[in-house]
Amino acid sequence: MTLDEVKRHIEKHLPGVALKPVRESLLVENPLDLPRVVEFLKADGVLQLNYLSSVTGVDYLTFLECVYHLYSMENKTYSLQLRVRVDRENPHVPSLVPIFRGAEFQEREAYDMYGFQFDGHPDLRRILMWDGYVGYPMRKDYKQEDSEVLDRDDIEWLQKHGVSVAEEHIKMAESLQTGGESEQPESEQTEG
């Protein structure tokens, strides 16, 4: 089946679901339709897309996109990619765990890296990064720490643990604290 045929097939059986082909995949225009579409595809006698092989995210700067790869263990020939687009500030996506139990860890990972809020997920917490980590590192505006200089937190920690710290590190930390949080000059903002 070509993508167009799949699109028409879904639209015939699920009236009211808006789909749009994007490159080789289908964009589900309203994220709330996603569970319906996936449930239909899983149960459908023709497509039998009964295996959710991956859940990932993409950051497009103005919005976030969640990408699902569905595969059929019966037909073994065809895989379908579904996308949903959500707001960057409020990325709520319905969870697919009720349909595919295997989506649990994948959605946790997508939450960990991109911050998607999967509504209906039984246990949404970080999976790769540790608890207490702040931010979503795969988003394009995530700002990494500069690991070559010690901050004031580091100095405090070291002094508390009885490690001697040279004067220059302390001064450096103080200057960072007063001069803003990063010593990154603005001119280095260009990045390809």
Binding site: V22, R23, D59, Y60, L61, T62, L128, M129, W130, G132, Y133, V134, G135, P137, K140, D141, Y142, K143, Q144, E145, D146, S147, E148, V149, L150, D151, D153, D154, I155, W157, L158, H161, G162, V163, S164, V165, A166, H169, Q184, E188, Q189, T190, E191, G192
Partner: protein, 256 residues
Amino acid sequence: MAFSKNKSQVDDGLKSELAKKGIVITTLNELYNWGRRSSIWPMQFGLACCAIEMIATACARYDIARFGAELFRASPRQADLIIIAGTVTKKMTPQVVRLYNQMAEPKYCITMGACSISGGPFIDGYNTLRGIDRFIPVDVHLPGCPPRPEALLYGLQTLQKKIDSQDFRKAPWYQKGLKREYAIPDLGPKGLIPKFNPEVWQPREEDHRKEKYGSPMVIGKKTKAPDLDAPPKQPKAPAPKPPKRSDDSAPPSKEA
């Protein structure tokens, strides 16, 4: 590194001459270090792809047993060498430092591969420690991605040379007040706290990488994203080749 400290006073030629007659001359140091270097017990501990090379080195073909280091122990209490074989993530760092702290003296450390030396291919990652030497002292740095088993054997021999050069009368692990336990970092909101242990490691004075790319090579400043709705670009047809010039023809006239 020079390993000449423990050279014996007796001429090597004379020694081997005497050895043929069944007389062995040695020093206590030599004997002691020979014993130590010939039975290094590494820790059974691998972190990423380099560990596969370490396993290959331990197997029959490369056979690390020839150098006396075949007994990989699964407990730090029984090991005297830790081979940091693989990428040290920030999440794993506290455990690695703790394992090193738990090893009995005398203890040695080999960093195997670019990752454990500096972060390697993942140096700009949000999740990778830029070299385990930020938290524990390292005896042998072994570059490569991954180093071949031969390289690991060479690294082991280098360590053996270092052991040979140590004097047990002055050995630090027999001295009083030895502090060889290092502070175990905590996991903070953006990475490790502290970012390095200044007693063990200091930032480089000249950091060419920093000059060139900024530090870190910043993610968070990416301003471009592909536009999926635009039609995919057609690959350009290759430009037609200019016709070949033969040497004896007149110089080609300029075309506009």
